[in-house]
């Protein structure tokens, strides 16, 4: 009985490791006019289960969360943003269709092209210069995750407890010095 439980736990652990991942590889912040913009390189490695669901018409939403805050113990939040990327597969055209945060749409014939597009985050407004004080220490945090709540309702209980669907890069932070 104990061996069976152990095997169960091991398979769950192995499944969680092989379930795919989202990684924030690199971020760059640069000043354009009165605003700091963010470029980020992301790597999406999705499990076949997610791709199967996507190919079967299940829309998938990736959410990118951005927070700028003071680099102090209390860390008051200065700016935050949430970017949702809705992906769906169109059977007639056989395209992966991406709808961006501003409603812009892009279509991709291959998954590689799709994730290449999603992996290149460019010129995302981060924070206004006016919000930051010169010489003060700030940091910005970023997290990319699959939004389970956007999945169709019948899939949610399974997604809540499945490592395949619990995809998140976790919060990562970098210093921001005006």
């Amino acid at each position: 009985m104990r061996v069976r439980w152990l095997l169960c736990l091991l398979s769950f652990w192995a499944g969680s490791i092989m379930a795919g991942q989202i990684d924030i590889q690199e971020t760059r912040v640069w000043l354009q006019g009165e605003r700091y913009l963010l470029d980020a390189d992301l790597a999406y490695e999705l499990d076949d289960g997610i791709m199967e669901a996507l190919d079967n018409g299940i829309p998938v939403v990736f959410t990118i969360s951005l927070v700028v805050e003071e680099a102090s113990l209390i860390s008051p939040e200065l700016a935050s943003d949430r970017l949702d990327y809705h992906i769906r597969f169109r059977p007639l055209t056989a395209f992966y269709e991406v709808t961006g945060p501003a409603g812009e749409q892009r279509s991709f014939i291959t998954r590689a092209a799709l994730f290449a597009y999603l992996g290149e985050l460019r010129e995302v407004p981060l924070v206004d210069v006016a919000v930051l004080e010169k010489g003060a220490s700030y940091r910005y945090r970023m997290k990319v995750e699959l939004d389970i709540e956007s999945l169709p309702l019948p899939m949610r209980p399974m997604a809540w407890f499945s490592p395949v669907w619990n995809l998140s890069s976790g919060w990562k932070e970098w210093p921001l010095i005006p």
Binding site: E52, I58, A113, L153, P157
Partner: protein, 729 residues
Amino acid sequence: MALNPVKYLGTRMMLALLLLSALLVSLHLMSNAVQNSATLSKLYVPLLIFNSLGLLILVILIGISLKRLLLAYRQNRPGARLTLRMVILFTLLSLLPVGVVYFYSMQFLLRGIDSWFDVEIDKAMENALSLGKASLDLQKRQLLQQTNQLKRQLIEEGTDGLLVRISSYRNAVNATELTVLDQNGRVLASSNVNPGVLVADVPDIGILQQARSLGSYVGLASYGEDQLLHVRVIVADLATSHYVQALYPTTERVSILSSEVQDAYEQYQQLSYLRKSLKQSFSLTLLLVLLFSFFSAVWAAIYSARRLLSPVVELGEATRAVAEGDYTTRLKSPGGGDELTFLVSSFNDMTQRIAQARDEAARSQQQVEQQRQYLQTLLEHLSTGVISIDSEGMLRTANSAAGQILGVDFEAHAGEHIADIARQARWPEEFIGTLRSVWESQMRERQGQVSIDTDSGRKEFQWRTTSMSGSEGYLVLMFDDITGLIRAQKESAWGEVARRLAHEIKNPLTPIQLSAERLRRKYLGKVEQDEVLDRATHTIIQQVEAMKGMVNDFSDYARPSVFNPRALAFEQLLKDVLGLYASERALQCKLNAGDTLVDGDAVKLRQVLHNLIKNALEAVAGVDKPSVRIETSVSASAGCHFIEVRILDNGAGFDPEMLGRVFEPYATSKQKGTGLGLAIVRKIVDEHEGGIWVANAPPGGAVVILRLPVSGQNDACRPMPAPTFMKEQ
């Protein structure tokens, strides 16, 4: 302090009802969420978790209740067995309909979901999509051909002035947008039907790679603000490595229809993919409803059983308490005016009446006990011996006076037959027969007089029998020791006789004596044959003297005694008396009393000792080897310390017929004497609260035992314990 069970049950019921209500609401919300309610669908998982936790709490509560119930069942607590039985019954009754509903609901649900995905519908959807694709394929081929021609034209004319010419090319082929790209996908020239569109729609790298490898790419794309369906055609020129992309519009109707087919197919495909999840989701919700219904029923069963059986359980416990003698038990009425209320009310009335009856019985018992103690005290202080005998002749009770006067330990003989006790006590057979005839007949009122040899000598008893009222067949036998009374009567009679004798006889004796002496003086020596006169007058004078002595003895016996007791060393007194008999060779003494004192009158005690020694010496006169042994000792018996004097002789002993009345006046076997000696001795000994016994010694001769209480012991020596040989007789 014990918690009130009803209040405790009420609090628990409120909590459980609260939990059940929350679960019910949560299940309802979850049901709405499953039905794709936009607001609640986001709460689906939290509701699922909440319901699961709620059910878990319910299961734990039920588990605790069942565990307690099983524990109570194992400990055989009142009502546990019945409660468990009712819980099982209620649970089974609820499980059956709930299970049936669940089974058929599941069947209906699963088949319903499966029916959505009928094979025909599936095929129809596929066909619709294929039809859409097929209808577009022809157009795609034409447009590819058209674009190829356009590419050749463009290549032939060169790229110079392309920016100017491209619009005309676009117009020529009636494209929405025409774009020329270099080998890296950069736009060299582009023209759009809408002049406002400045940025050309660049295909992704995958499409370009496909176009490069295959020479061309034809596909559908949604384009423009209205996202109308377009045909994207890309042809590659391998020589110049340029790409020509043209976006051709479809008709609005085709676009709308294609979009609708695509959306329908997509939705169908999505549902088809979610079929398993849908089933699981609905099954889970239904399962939660089932579990909720079932556990609610189980909890309701436990609660109802407890609630219903609570008065019965209390009644059982109270009945047990009553059985153990606690009549103060009162039950709280369950209310409602049903049969249970009536039962509890009747029980309370019953216990109240039992308590009253018990109190009454206790009071009566107390009165009876007081009466019994009163009678016991009365009986114990009666000088009359009282013995009760049952109808079988068995001894039931005897007061202490009976034991004392009859010399029988009746406590040791409790339950024995009175005839057996009587024989052991040496009661005369004649008297035993009389007693038997009394308890065997209906004539219970009898009385008589009997002489019984007791440890302290022969005693005279006045006895009476009577039946005991209230106890059928019981006989009460009463004894009065009248030995003293008879003796006193005899002594009184003898005293009267002696007094009259002394009075009547003494008066004529003196004139007789004087007359005899006068005759003697006047005629002795003066008449013939004066020897006769001398002998006759001498005899008269001598006999008159003897009669005077006898009359004096009678007078002494009848005269009231003057008793002057003081503490005196008895043995010294005895030695003084013995000194007078120093010449008697038959006397042998063994004195062991030492200086022990007795409270006595020295003159009277000396008279006693003189009398006893004189009698003994007279008894051995004429015996070959006369022997009179005198022994003294200090002994104790029954708490009484006394000096004992034994006088043993080897004479003829007492005449057995005389033995019982040697101490009566004028009871003598001697030729001489008045017969008052031992009577006077007995009188003096009685005055000293002592005792005197006579017996014939087994080898021959007589023994006289005199016992006098040691000084200060008088109270403990009433009556003086009899010597052992008297008990053996």
